[in-house]
Each structure stands twice: as C-alpha cells, then as structure tokens.
Amino acid sequence: MFARRYVADRSLATAVFLALKRRKPLLLEGEPGVGKTEVAKVLADLLETRLIRLQCYEGIDISTAVYEWNYTRQMLYIRLMEASGTTRQEELKEIFGPDFLIKRPLLQAIDSANAKAPVLLIDELDRSDEEFEAYLLELLSDFQITIPEIGTIAAQEPPIVVITSNRTREIHDALRRRCLYYWIDYPTLEKEYSIVLARMPEAPEYLAKQVCAFVRELRALDLFKAPGVAETLDWIASLLALNQLELVEGTVRDTLGALLKYQDDVLKVGGSNLGKLLEKARSASL
C-alpha cells in the first residue's frame, strides 16, 4: 500500500483502509517520532490529493482554524464605496461576501470547490484546549460550517481526516468515539531496518543494521525519552555526514545528541556502559 517510502504493518494498513472506506476520522496516538504525521502526508501523496494541515496550539480559535474576515480590505472597500456613493444595502452584501473571507485550514478542507476530497491533518490535537475539541466534534460529524453572514457551507466530498495526539492531555471520550483509533508503537527491529533503508537508500546496510540494533538497545533502557524513528533517521543522517561506515564508540558518544534530548539520558547512556551497549548492538546486527 505505501509505496511512498512508508513502511506500515498490516494492522495500520487496515486502520487506514477502513478510515478511507468508512470516511471516519483516524485518531493516531503514539510516542513522539514514530511517524504519526507522516501517515497523513503519505496518504495525501498516495491519493494524489491536497494535504491541509492544521497545527493545534492552546487557544486556537475560529479565526485561526476556520475563517476570518479580511478587515483591512473591508475597511478600504467601505471607503471606496463611500467615495463612489453606492447605496448601503449592496455594500453590506458585498462586504460580507466570499471575496472578503480568509479561509483557514478547516474551511479549506470542506470547501465545495474541492475537486477531490483532501486529506485534513489535525496535528497534535492534545495541544488545543477543550473548547476547540468541542467545536471539532460538531465539524467532524456533519462536515459543514456555518458562517452567519454567508450561510452554511457543506463539503461535497467529506475530507479524509487524520488526527494525531501526543497525549500531553487526554482527548475527550466523545471525540475518541467518533474516530478509528490506532496506537503506533515503536517498530520492531526488522521493520525499523526497512524504514531506514526506504528513507535513506544511501546508507550502507551494515551501518543501518547496527544503528537499528543500537537504538533498540536504547529503548530497552529506562530513559526519560526513548528515541523515536525520527531520531533514528536523524542519527543515521548525522553519521553519514561524518562519513562513518560503522558504529565507533567515540563517534557515537559525540553524536548522541541526535538521539537523546535530555541531559540525564545522555549521562546515563554516555557513561561506562556505552561500550557494552555497542557490543550488544554489534552482535545483534550480525
């Protein structure tokens, strides 16, 4: 299914397939860096349709997520109208017409002008607040938006919705129920290896194997933040930039910053047991 450099196992493929078939939102949860956002990107690429991304943050509201009026333009237009002396009624109609509307991601996604259903990625929903979540609830059930001045805009083709969450806040049950749920776990050794090969075809196979084995050893440790797939890829890229062909203790120590993002973790791994970890990884990759 994912020819576009995304390695998915059958369970994820099933979830995505059902989301497409049933036109239900797909709720993806998982540790940071396991490829949640990537699913939406690849999906849009695969279906050859637009990807509309809405990055959530605290306090996100209608004017940044759905639509806003172009106030400056409205003001200027009124001035122009006054100068040319048109009657008031027409003015009003035009000022709150589509010309003065700035479409934000959610409105873009259900715009009836879309030829093909776009992929709507609502990224990191856990960062938004409860109010926005409640608004989404309404949108995701009907795929229509009411703008008081214009009327109701409904999607001809409901968009394919992918929602991701890092669980910094629990998503409300009401929203969960409306979605297909999928938890993306850290990949197995073989899977991570094929991800690395798919993403970094220029990496030597031996190095890729060692890197995957080493990262797996790290995840087994009791770290505050275990490295995700994104970090693995990042690390391989750094190793390639340093022209490394295999893991050497010194280089590993110097490049740990690509994998571990907390000082405690770096200290824990970079200490005396780094050699032991490397040894383990080497023997596992043979």
Partner: protein
Amino acid sequence: MDAHNFERLDDLSFFNRERTGPSPDTPKPGQDGLRPIAASGAAAALTPPLSPSELERGERLLYRLTEFGHLLWESGIEVGPQQLLDLAETLNEIDITNPGDFYYTLKCSLLTRHEQETLFDQLFNYYWQSRDRQNRPPDPGPTRRDDRQIRLPPSERKRLAEHLNADSQQRELRMGERESERRRLLDEQAGEHEDDQAPPQGTAYSALELLRKKDFESFTWEEVQEAKRLMAEMRWNLGLRPTRRKRPVRKGDYPDMRRIVRRNLKYGAELLELTWRENKEKPRPLVIICDISGSMSLYSRLLLHFIHTISNGLLNVEAFVFGTRLTRITRQLKRRDVDDAVREVSRTVQDWSGGTRIGEALHMFNQQWARRVLGRGAVVLIISDGWDRGDANLLRAEMDRLQHSCHRLIWLNPLLGSPDYRPLTIGMKTALPYIDDFLPAHNLDSLIHLGKLLERIDDRRPARTPAARREAVKVWQRPTS
C-alpha cells in the same frame, strides 16, 4: 500486537482486492435499518442474492458481535450501541474470513485508548477463539443462556453480590441515621424548653470545632463518618491560570476586530466604538499523588475520601496512589458514590499497607504520566509521611524533575500535625528542598487550610533557587520552641 508480523506492501494490490470485494449491487450500508445487518454477515460469501442460511449466519454474527460488545462493556471498555452499529457496517468493507483483518477491524473500531489494548486482546482471544473451542454448541438455543452465566468469572460474581449487599446495608445505615437525627432534634427541642442557658447549637458548634482539630489518627468510627460528611460539604476552588483563549470584555488588552467592524459599519468607515478581548482564565489542573503504604494506613482511607471529594468538586483532577508502585485511580474515582469509588480503588490497587518506595513511584510518575497530566500549569499535591525505604539519590533526582515540571509542588504530611515534628527521616530530608509548600494533613482544619491555599495560587512562580532551598531546609532545623 504480533511483534514480528511486519510486511512491506509495495503496491495497491491490498486495496484493489478489497475494493472489488463486495459487488456493486450489494446494498449500500446505512440505507435502511435492517439490510446492512444481514449483509454484514453475508459479506463473507460475496454473492449478491442472499440465501436464507446466509441471512441466518449474518444475524448470528451480529448477535455475537453485540454479545462481545457487552462483554467489553462489562470489563470496563465502554462500547456503545452506536459503535456496534458502525462496526457492523464497517465489517461490510473487509473480508471477514481473514481472522487478522477481522481482529484489526474490531480493534480499531471498538477501542479508544491504548491502555485498553491488553484487556481487549485477552477478551478477544477468550471470546472469539478459546471459548468457542472449548464448547462448541450443538444447538444455539440453550447454550446461549449458558454463555450468559459463564460470562462473569466467579470472582466478579462475588463482587457483584457484595456490591448489592453493601447497597442494602448502606440504605439501612442511612435510615438509621435519619432516625437518630430526628431523635436528636426532638431531644434538642426538649432541651431548649427545659434549659435556655445552654443553647444546643453552641454545644454542637464546639463539638464541631473539636472534631476539626482532632487528629485523624484518633478518630472513632462515628467521628470518621462525621468527618466524611464534613469533607463532602467542603467546596474546592483552584487558583486560576490565564489561557491563550480570548473572550470579549468591555476593556481589555486586545482589539476584537470582528466586533469592531460589525459595530462600526453604521458609521461608514470610521472606527468609533472599540471592543476588546482579554485572556480567559481557567482553573489549574490538580494532580494528587497519595501514599498508601503501611505507615500511612491510619490516614489513607480517610484521605482517599478526601481525594474523592476534591476530584468530584473540581474538573481537572488526576489522582495516583503508591506504596511500592504507582497506580492511577482517576477513573475509579469518577464514580459518584464515595464508598463505591473507594471500594473500586482498593480492588485495583495491589499494594495497600505495604512498604514505601517514594523515589521509584515518582520515577514512574515522571516517566509515564508527567508529560500527560502536568501540562497547563498543574499543581501537584503529594500526600505522604516520607518514610521511604528506597534509594535517596533516586528520590532527589525525581523530586527535582517533578518540581521543574509543575507550577507548584505541595507536600502534605500527616505527621506535621504534631508541634514537635521535625523532618528527620531520610526520605523527608531528601525531598524537603524541592517542596514549595510543606503542610500538615492530620485533621479537618488542615484540609480547610489547604483549600484556602489552593484557591490563592496565582501566576507567580515560587522561588526555586538553591538559596531558597537551603532556607526551606533551615526553617525545619530550628529546635522546637
């Protein structure tokens, strides 16, 4: 999830195969009430005209699905009828003879949380695999009734029976209470007539005063009941924090462009009336981490009641208990009835009245929960006496991290009630520098005091410099006066 089942699907064949599955003249799901139900079972057969036997099979599948839904519901995974209806329609889309796909479909349609996965897997195996293998019914009629009986394992049935009994006991208790209350009122009235010099309200009040000051440790059973009632009456408010969301106000910091334009249209292009917005405020989230180890056993049940009243009065409360390990009890405390909730908690928690490893419990909290519950300026409340049998270095590191990731770290210690108390245990000594507020929690008064403190919490960060930490320790080193 099966660990080594990884495959790379390089082309669209998976999709195409599925798409050609149901032929175009199969009725579209959702057009009427009954047909998709029949079709869901028949999707396996893939032939458009449905024979009676296929229809029957479909109905049986639907029945089994509902039954499975019920089983999930009983085990605490909330599955509603809407989800089951959706699932039945969803099954039209896949080849249900493929066990893997069937499993994945059920899983992603019925589950809403990662934590439920293990339980779901067990139940799935039990219901769709092992149970069938054990006793395949010769005819479906009578066995179905049997199924309903075996569905609850014996332990569960016992619990249910206990639960029912407890209900009736409680009812009796309440009846009794009311009876005694009436009698007391009568007595009081009688007393008023006889002797006006000692107003009964006064004595009742001073009794209340005494109760509020009395240590939980020396409570009698009646007093415990009274304390529970008083706790239930307390009202809790948490300090507010500014959010990024704006709300319209008469005079604020940000112009409300939308309303400005609307309002001023009547003046042409002149902006004469200005409207404003300002940041909305919301109560901070509260995270309670309560010690239930042996040394706390005199307090822990009552404190659990206390936690229950807080979490029902406030919106955003997460609760954890620990002895040797950490258990999240937020969901259990969601039950309205205190006694139900406490019973539910004690069923879930494995390490009542055991040893204490505060460091390890906090480590687990920091690892697994801090990122999920400490966002948005949370206030953390640790309730413990600090008798720790774990590693002091670990405790120090974890307290440091915890303090850094929350807005306010409050430690309630029941032992602090005694004026001679000094934090001398290793655990308490280690934790002390990282605590923003070190408060007693031994009687009702201290809880009321806590309530006032929580209400006062504002945006200001407490001082967390090394100097402030040394000062905090020094305060407690002074000899008792």
